[in-house]
Amino acid sequence: MYTQALNTSDGEDRHIEDARRAAQFQARIDADERIEPNDWMPAAYRKTLTRQISQHAHSEIVGMLPEGNWITRAPSLRRKAALLAKVQDECGHGLYLYAAAETLGSSREELVDLMLAGKAKYSSIFNYPTLTWADIGTIGWLVDGAAIMNQIPLCRCSYGPYARAMIRVCKEESFHQRQGFEIMLTLCRGTDEQKAMAQDALNRWWWPVLMMFGPPDQVSQHSDTSTKWKIKRFSNDELRQKFVDATVPQAQFLGLTIPDPGMKQNTNGNWEYSAIDWEEFKHVLAGNGPCNRDRLAARRKAHEDGAWVREAAMAYAEKQRQRSTLQAAE
């Protein structure tokens, strides 16, 4: 009672205290120190990171579906094994990322429930369908390529658990990217039909991949504080430009045409691309992309169909716990 009374500081004191802590926190960020789970952090920093890391985790898990769509149809045993291994890696990335998000105080179950309820987002790219085998090569080459551009700077992100997860993820991701490029190379050196399949896949994935970097800088709502807190180190448009500049020579090497007739190289050597259809992006994020409903339905079905398995595992663990308590009492 006595101590309780002492603890009831008035709002003014807490405000001053928080302002002091916020300044110390920002000083640590500015000095490039890593923030760890037990450190004080502004509530908005915690919230932003929970949102970003969990959406990143959801993306890994939903991202298993478009590629998983081709595991049973992969055209050779070598490709089948590589694709299965890749999708398994993605599941592992999801697990690292949920663990990183959990260090901020939310449970994986809560976060997954938000995704299944359609209240948390995942990357817009996974709402597009994989129609041919070439899509699997294109996803590795471009989607993983874009993911790497986004994720390499995150290896230096101010939040330690996220940065460390990204180091592990990026190693595997760059392997996937090379695998995807190799699929494309094989197709482009193959028959006319295979090359046409590769071009068609590039035509369908190019613009959705550019949208992966998020809205243009002038309308990106999260960038200001994310930059100040060193969660984000480059702007959406900077990363997108970097990606385009890296990808154009790869497409040229493959002998493929990027579906942007207006694209040209400027005097700085950067490739200028045409306007992105942000209306489409908004629709996909709002749930109206070609596969949004199918993706969520597949994840919900797995979750619901698996409920009895998870319940069985818990019931068994509880029985085991009771048995060992009984044994200890004897």
Binding site: I61, M64, L65, G68, I71, T72, R73, A74, P75, S76, L77, R78, R79, K80, A81, L84, A85, V87, Q88, C91, G92, G94, L95, Y98, W133, I183, T186, L187, G190, T191, E193, Q194, A298, K301, A302, D305, G306, A307, W308, V309, R310, E311, A312, A313, A315, Y316, K319
Partner: protein, 258 residues
């Protein structure tokens, strides 16, 4: 489908290796169907992991079968250009995934057998088969542990999980006899010390199965009628659908490199 089936010169040794390769491929394919749809992320990873082990075994065995046959076939021709009547896998392994209990019981019956089988095969007088066995045995030991733990968890979990896993045992039991049967083409290889005689492995298999099933508070069925046919290409109706999916690319684009 425009790509023609390959011809296989099924000498006893080629046939023997292909039977094991087909087992691994078909079960690996079935496990890969779970990818992204498992009851929890940890199981998505475990099922993909075991599927990958099996695909790896299939690839080694097909490659060896091609070498022994010496007719220019390779792993992909064996996998993608033989039809249902040319496939030699056990009927058990082509059974659909069903629910998680069905998948785990299929896995448990086969892994427990495969583990004993590969350990015996490590003593094969054929150096390549012995080497493949030595690698596969490490993987099958993991598969046995994983599936037995699930049989126990499901059997001794909730009423629903108990009911489902018991139903799966009852459904799949009739396919277990084929694992231990031997035909004339294998008899000579067994006598020569190349192949493993599976019949003497059955008591140990049954002992392990009975132990786990008992711990899981489940029972083995009384009905001991056993289905046969996979080894000679007389399959269930499930395999044709599996192969049309597995082979669709190679059949549609004959001769292409991927």
């Amino acid at each position: 489908m425009s790509a023609a089936n390959i011809q296989v010169s099924e000498t006893p040794l080629v046939l023997y290796i292909l039977r094991r390769a087909d087992d691994a491929l078909i079960l690996g394919h079935r496990l890969s169907e779970w990818c992204g749809h498992a009851p929890m992320l940890e199981e998505d990873m475990a099922l993909a992991n075991m599927g990958l082990d099996l695909l790896g075994q299939a690839r080694e065995l097909y490659t060896y079968a091609a070498k022994v046959e010496g007719k220019g076939n390779d792993e992909d021709k064996f996998a993608y250009l033989r039809d249902v009547r040319q496939y030699r896998n056990l009927l058990l392994l082509e059974q659909p995934n069903g629910d998680f209990a069905r998948t785990m019981v299929r896995q448990f019956f086969y892994a427990t057998f495969a583990d004993l089988y590969w350990r015996a095969m490590m003593r094969s007088s054929d150096a390549m088969l012995a080497a493949i066995a030595a690698k596969s045995e490490k993987e099958s030991a993991y598969h046995v542990r994983h599936s037995s733990e699930w049989i126990i968890r499901l059997g001794d979990g909730t009423e629903e999980s108990h009911r489902r896993v018991q139903a799966a045992i009852d459904e799949l039991w009739a396919f277990t006899g084929e694992m231990f049967s031997v035909d004339d083409s294998e008899r000579g290889l067994i006598d020569a010390g190349i192949a493993v005689d599976p019949a003497p492995l059955r008591p140990q298999w049954l002992k392990t199965i009975t132990g786990v099933v008992g711990e899981a508070t489940l029972v083995l069925p009384d009905n001991n009628w056993m289905q046969q046919g996979g080894r000679s290409g007389r399959h269930s109706e499930h395999l044709g659908h599996l192969l049309s999916e597995l082979q669709s690319m190679q059949r549609t684009f004959p001769g292409a490199t991927w």
